[in-house]
């Protein structure tokens, strides 16, 4: 299966098979004006099967949330029809408004207008803690 080469844009490659649509949702790619293709279960020499997302057109999205969902993903930046930059996704320093703090004693449980914010505390083990009460984030709600 071939989806045309893009001239300008971004390709998220090596997505663990089955996670492509989740990443599409979390990044809100459905709200973009440009063309987006999600390819699921593509053949991969390295991974057997993989998902790929191709976004055509210049966009400005913070891809670091993807690092939480899938640490395999590589980002390819395409310009003039060729890959000009290829990089692994780094974890975001802060996660704002995506995860909820599960600690019943946390101030976020009584102050509804407070943003739920988690800070990266251990990169290797992907440990995020609530900036208010330091409770460890549970990723089950995004995974």
């Amino acid at each position: 299966m071939i989806i045309g080469q893009i001239q300008e844009g971004i390709v998220l490659d090596h997505i663990t098979a089955g996670r492509g649509m989740k990443i599409y949702d979390v990044l809100g790619l459905g709200n973009l004006d440009c063309a987006v293709a999600v390819i699921v279960n593509a053949d991969s020499e390295k991974m057997g099967k993989k998902d790929i997302i191709k976004i055509s057109g210049p966009i400005d999205i913070d891809f670091r949330m993807v690092g939480l969902l899938d640490s395999n993903v590589t980002v390819n930046i395409i310009s003039g029809g060729t890959v000009v930059k290829r990089e692994k996704i780094e974890l975001p320093e802060k996660i704002t408004g995506v995860l909820k703090c599960k600690n019943p004693r946390c101030i976020t449980t009584t102050e509804q207008e407070l943003q739920h914010v988690f800070k990266l505390c251990n990169e290797e083990e992907k440990v995020y803690r609530c900036i208010y009460c330091e409770t460890k984030a549970e990723f089950s709600s995004v995974e």
Binding site: R105, I107, E111
Partner: protein, 305 residues
């Protein structure tokens, strides 16, 4: 403008500075009697804690300042649904510094993000209580004269005791500190304290079940309350509670210069018969808490003496 939410907000050097100021206050109280003239401390206590509140208020009065505030949530505007953020903004118009106690973890941090004056965390749920740790550190300095090369016994509820966790963090920054954790299995030190503090800092520690066995090696014995509600069943509580009560008999093989500490209030975990022992330091700790709060208020208000 600086706030203190967690004891680890202060560097070792800054803590040294606070200890020196506190000792200077003890030596020359008159020199400090008017240095906060015209300044106001707001004690915002969303849950009652009379001891901590009075310590802050006494500290401010002894610096020549004044105090405004409330002592429980019912007399504050939070009972009308005002947010912590708004309370912090409003109080910033009236006072020069805030000491906040709140049942919810992180509330003083939220206040510090919104206040235009310094905020001191005076206890947020089971989370942080940095001025208690400052009191503990001044007590250790005055009693032992050093923070390095100490064997520190921590006894009782090491699972939920926030004062114990903060003290471990604070002392882990000094050389050659050894901890002896003495608790029932049910209340032993949580894994995250080991993973985040003890192991990365290479701190030596042992876990014991018996207070008497651990006693002879200790330079400091930090007692905490074993609360009945922490146990799943009454039988376990009854079986274990006496094991962790300090009595003159259990001190028979303790060092002559042991320093016995407790964050208070005590219920029965230290027998009153121990109070007259010269090694009992827990009432000195209360006094030291006031001096460290004075030093901290001066630092945050940037008052030059």
């Amino acid at each position: 403008m600086r706030s203190i939410i967690d004891i680890m907000d202060l560097s070792v050097e800054e803590i040294d500075g606070l200890l020196n100021v506190a000792e200077d206050i003890i030596a020359n109280p008159k020199k400090y009697a008017k240095v906060c003239d015209g300044k106001k401390l707001a004690t915002l206590f969303f849950e009652p804690s009379t001891r901590t509140r009075l310590s802050f208020e006494a500290a401010m009065y002894e610096l020549g300042g004044n105090v405004i505030g409330f002592s429980d949530a019912n007399s504050s505007s939070s009972s009308k649904g005002e947010s912590v953020a708004d309370t912090a903004r409003v109080i910033s118009c009236y006072a020069d510094i805030i000491a906040m106690r709140h049942p919810k973890e992180g509330a003083p941090y939220v206040a510090s993000l919104n206040a235009s004056i310094p905020v001191i965390n005076a206890g947020d749920g089971g989370h942080n209580h940095p001025t208690q740790t400052l009191a503990d550190l001044l007590t250790i300095k005055r009693e032992k004269g050093r923070f390095d090369s100490l064997t520190v016994g921590l006894c009782g509820d090491l699972k939920f005791g926030r004062t114990v966790h903060s003290l471990i963090s604070a002392l882990s920054r000094y050389e050659n500190i050894k901890f002896v954790m003495i608790s029932p299995d049910e209340l032993c030190i949580p894994d995250y304290v080991k993973q985040n503090v003890l192991i990365p800092n290479g701190i030596e520690y042992t876990e014991e079940r018996s207070l008497e066995d651990a006693m002879p090696g200790l330079d400091i014995l930090y007692m905490t309350r074993v609360q009945k509600e922490r146990f799943f069943n009454e039988a376990d509580y009854i079986r274990l509670k006496d094991t962790y009560i300090l009595t003159p008999e259990k001190l028979a093989h303790a060092k002559e210069d042991l320093c016995i500490m407790h964050p208070l209030p005590r219920v029965n975990e230290i027998s009153v018969a121990v109070d007259n022992d010269k090694r009992a330091c827990y009432f000195k700790q209360v006094l030291n808490g006031k001096y460290m709060r004075m030093a901290l208020i001066l630092k945050l208000l940037e008052v030059q003496v």
